[in-house]
Symmetry: C2
Subunit: 292 residues, 2 copies
């Protein structure tokens, strides 16, 4: 059994990106530049955006944080998005979700120029991913794909079960794992709240990707020996064993599942650290005009 | 066992569309208008486009057929697409594939204004379908969905197996059957050339959608009693029992599979007739501004 070390891989990729940035700068090129918009005062959103800005600094990117009070109008947000779309110095734009209720998330996301949509949420990027064309792939699925690659985990002809059908994890993973590529070429089964016999379906899986948001849902008796388990869940629960009074749990009952696996991602330190580096990778690709 | 009568349903839908067109005209509205581009002299393409133009006439649509010799340049094609994009009288544009090799299909399809892309092949429409937003759904998947609806075939919680992962049938069916909707809410397994144990996977399916293009691939011993079987395949084979010397076969060995099914589509007369009416439905939706 091997624990997939997301922290280690993420650090490796950050180093690779930092080297690429140094090379660009040495050649007199423009520094890759990510802009992030943060609207309102949601604590979790502030933390996430803070981590993204810090990651930009670590790899030598320029970053711009655009902050607005929750009272800003939709039109002002859309105008700012258009301004950033037209700013040739900015390679990528992300808008931290959720937005205040009076602002349409869909309208904002669709206003972002898809060539700067490094979150990969714009319909053009989603559609191009489905069609097998170059596109920005959403950060979490991109991070998972990269873990398969870096650990050389075989996927062709494997039965892959995906638990959850969200637009940001389950559905893109369905598309990516079933496409004709590596990682991919799996026989993919996608399960959700209406699925019957999830236990039995999981027991037949060579690869299980769990993205349900239910702490410790996947138990040892649902996993066959030698399976690969990727845990995308993250739930904060109270704990009297930590200083903070909280601990993080994944969707997998790690202690009992891990011994049966060939590979497994822990929570924290598995998929999570890959998410931000995927965003950085997309921004670098944009700066280099590799996608569009 | 019930044979799904695609001809009957297609005729019903054509009547509904014709009534809608009459109503639009009676109210002094603009007649829905489909434009089709045909490049070169491929016999099958001529037949397909001919059927589409004829179907337009049957329901009272205006149609425009733009024909070019195979020697036309890519730029001339793109210029014509842009001209049609800008023509307010035209609601839908389809470009019959395949195109001559010197013309990029992808470039042509992406140049079509997605608001007139009634074939549903543009990345924006594909992406919006994935995201659950209103979009033009490609004709064959849309036709299959409509057959489920018209026959009130239950789908929620069913195991649905899709054989084939093409961009025009298998992959959209994967997305449509797994989404939170009716038809949909299935546990979907998508199989392809790299899948192991297809037989066993099929035997566990409540619904099988076959789109492989291999004549009579699905045999009785691969289908469980009471399954729903949708046959998208169509292969022309020589026959000494027909006047023409040819007959059409689906991907299902119909005679032996049908008795085991609760519902099954025949070939011809199942999915095929639904394809053109789906194109008409999309064109009507465009004329009514129902999607965009």
């Amino acid at each position: 059994m091997q624990i997939i070390d997301g922290n280690k891989i993420a650090a490796e990729i950050k180093n690779e990106i930092a080297e690429a940035v140094t090379e660009i700068k040495n050649k007199g090129g423009k520094t890759p530049h990510l802009a992030a918009m943060l609207i309102g005062n949601d604590g979790a959103s502030e933390t996430y955006v803070g981590h993204k800005v810090k990651a930009c600094e670590q790899v030598g990117f320029k970053s711009t944080l655009v902050r607005y009070d929750a009272s800003i109008t939709e039109k002002e947000v859309l105008d700012k998005v258009i301004e950033i779309n037209n700013d040739p110095d900015i390679d990528g734009l992300i808008v931290q979700l959720p937005l205040p209720k009076h602002i349409s998330e869909q309208k904002v996301l669709e206003t972002i120029n898809f060539k700067k949509d490094v979150d990969g949420f714009h319909p053009v990027n989603v559609g191009r991913m489905v069609l097998g064309l170059p596109s920005f792939i959403p950060a979490t699925p991109f991070g998972i794909i990269e873990l398969f690659r870096r650990y050389n985990i075989p996927t062709e002809g494997k039965n892959c079960v995906i638990l959850g059908r969200s637009n940001i994890v389950g559905t893109p993973m369905n598309l990516l794992m079933s496409r004709k590529a590596y990682p991919g070429n799996c026989t993919v089964t996608i399960c959700h709240s209406k699925t019957k016999n999830i236990e039995e379906i999981c027991r037949n899986a060579d690869i299980i990707i769990v993205a349900m948001g239910i702490a410790e849902y996947l138990k040892a008796d649902m996993v066959k020996d030698g399976a690969v388990v990727i845990d995308v869940g993250i739930t904060r629960v109270k704990s009297d064993k930590t200083k903070s009074g909280w601990k993080l749990l994944g969707d997998v009952k790690f202690d009992e599942v891990a011994p049966k696996c060939s590979y497994i991602t822990p929570v924290p330190g598995g998929v999570g650290p890959m998410t931000i580096v995927s965003l950085l990778k997309n921004t670098l690709s944009s700066a280099r005009n590799e996608i569009y």
